[in-house]
Amino acid sequence: MSSAPKEFAAPAMAARTAATLFVFVVIFTGLLSTVYKWTRPVIEATAREERLRLLNEVLPAAEYDNDPVAEARTLPPTAELGLKEPSTFYPARRAGQPAAVIFEASAPDGYAGRIRLLIAIRADGTVAGVRVTQHKETPGLGDYIEPKKDRNKTRPWITQFNGLALATTEDKAWRVIKDGGRIDYYAGATISPRAIARAVHKAARWYDAHRQQLFSPDGGKP
């Protein structure tokens, strides 16, 4: 079996093995790094595109003309948004004027844990769009919060928040119908929509309180 002849003493053997491994590692790492260098621009571009596409889902591209990704800033952990860790915040402008903000939020009381959201609110305070970015709700029951899984393809459940505004919508209406509000839900799964509605409502209030700071060029330090 052994191709290692007996003559080798341990240190010699160690050197020999190390050298062989060294050669292989150098070759393959080199190969890999080259590929990486070569693909990196593409990867970065795709990631960016991806981000943009998501942003456009909550805020139509027509409503802004800046590059929100480039202008993205980091928000410190914000309890009102249900966030215990820093998050990203994208200002959208149109012709230099504040058009909307897009930010992350989290509903902590989903059926199976946190539901992560991306919310866009226009400068006038109306909700432009909401998307669920991450959740663990029950497949087939609570997952209609995600438009892809929603059976109603023409008007997915999550689009109900579009157009709501603190100014025009009374506080009660930000709840699911069952609790006396406006938000519809699928029977047998009220917990997930309830959680999201509450989170969006909170986010709208947070936006309202920090509207000024958010668009100030020195950064969103509310």
């Binding site: 199976a112 029977a187 047998g188 799964a189």
Partner: protein
């Protein structure tokens, strides 16, 4: 000459006798159910029995086993009845049907049929359906719902629409939803005081169904069809943990009586966790099995993702049963304190 091995004397017992006794013991509970919650359960019992016998017969035929002998052993009927009793009474027929077929085919016959299945078939059916059709599986008839049998049958067979108003959360579910509201400003004790939903101690009507199971279970124990270890350990551990948490914070945790008489606790303790085939067999093993099932049932129903935890608790203990049995082998004659 004839050939037969000793012993030549045999006691007059048989598998079908055992299973019949289990069915008989279920009758008080079923009666209370039909009386207090609605006769739809009888329809479901028929659907499940039919499905079980059908699947059993088909599998026996495929496997080349004698049909009459095994169809008459009654085990499929016990499985079917337990499935019907754990599903919502207005569940669509096809769901009960699918669940039962799955139980008999996958959980029972793929393992060789009667006596060889490591998992409790009825609970497999329940678990499969609750993960597959969570919405339908959590629609329980609204309290005080007065529907004629014909209407109930229409709903079961999809001839009448399922109106949301017909259903409401079960007491357990309602409690969990309240917990999940997350506002922190609710009080379980107050909630429980709502007699419309919660009846005298654990869900209107349901508490008496549970009492029916208790009576049947005690009779089974009296007949020595089941041994005391599993129910006692199951009820004991559930009482202990719910009691401890209730004493710790009565506002956030319900009292033990509620837990004992709601959901599938008593059905589980006397009829499901006691399934001899998929459970532990050594005396100490049975104690561990029961206690583990009670504990897990509590954890899952209070903290977990499902309205009631009995089914998953039993399945989880099923899968531990062989190892528990192995580790709790009693000392044999002459070897006590040795080995």
């Amino acid at each position: 000459m004839i050939f037969a091995p000793s012993p030549f004397l045999l006691k007059d017992v048989s598998v079908s006798q055992v299973m019949t006794q289990v069915c008989v013991a279920l009758i008080p509970g079923i009666a209370a159910y039909a009386w207090l919650v609605g006769p739809a359960i009888l329809v479901q019992l028929v659907i499940a029995t039919f499905a079980a016998l059908f699947a059993e017969a088909a599998m026996l035929k495929l496997r080349g086993k004698p049909l009459a002998l095994f169809l008459s052993d009654g085990s499929a009927i016990v499985t079917a009845w337990l499935i019907a009793l754990t599903f919502p009474p207005l569940a669509p027929w096809w769901m009960v049907f699918t669940g039962t077929i799955f139980a008999i085919v996958f959980a029972k016959h793929l393992y060789g049929g009667l006596g060889q299945n490591p998992f409790n078939p009825a609970m497999v059916a329940f678990a499969v359906c609750i993960v597959s059709f969570p919405a339908l599986m959590s629609q329980w008839p609204a309290v005080g719902l007065e529907l004629r049998l014909v209407d109930q049958i229409d709903i079961i067979f999809g001839l009448a629409p399922r109106v949301d108003a017909l259903t409401s959360a079960t007491p357990l579910d309602a409690m969990k939803t309240a917990l999940r509201m997350g506002d922190g400003n609710f009080d379980i004790a107050q909630l429980l005081a709502n007699q419309d939903i919660y009846g005298n101690f654990a869900g209107r009507g349901w508490e008496w169904v549970a009492a029916g199971y208790l009576i049947g279970g005690l009779w089974l124990w009296h007949r020595r069809v089941i041994s005391w270890q599993v129910p006692v350990a199951f009820i004991g551990s559930l009482t202990l943990i719910s009691g401890a948490l209730w004493l710790y914070n009565p506002a956030a945790f319900a009292n033990p009586i509620f837990h004992l008489f709601s959901g599938g606790t008593l059905l589980g303790a006397f009829f499901i966790a006691t399934d001899p085939v998929s459970g532990c067999t050594t005396p100490r093993g049975k104690l561990i099995f029961g206690a583990g099932a009670g504990l897990l049932a509590y954890i899952i129903r209070v903290f977990g993702g499902f309205p009631d935890g009995v089914a998953f608790a039993v399945l989880l203990m099923n899968l531990s049963a062989p190892v528990i049995d192995l580790l709790t082998q009693p000392a044999i004659f002459g070897m006590k304190g040795k080995k």
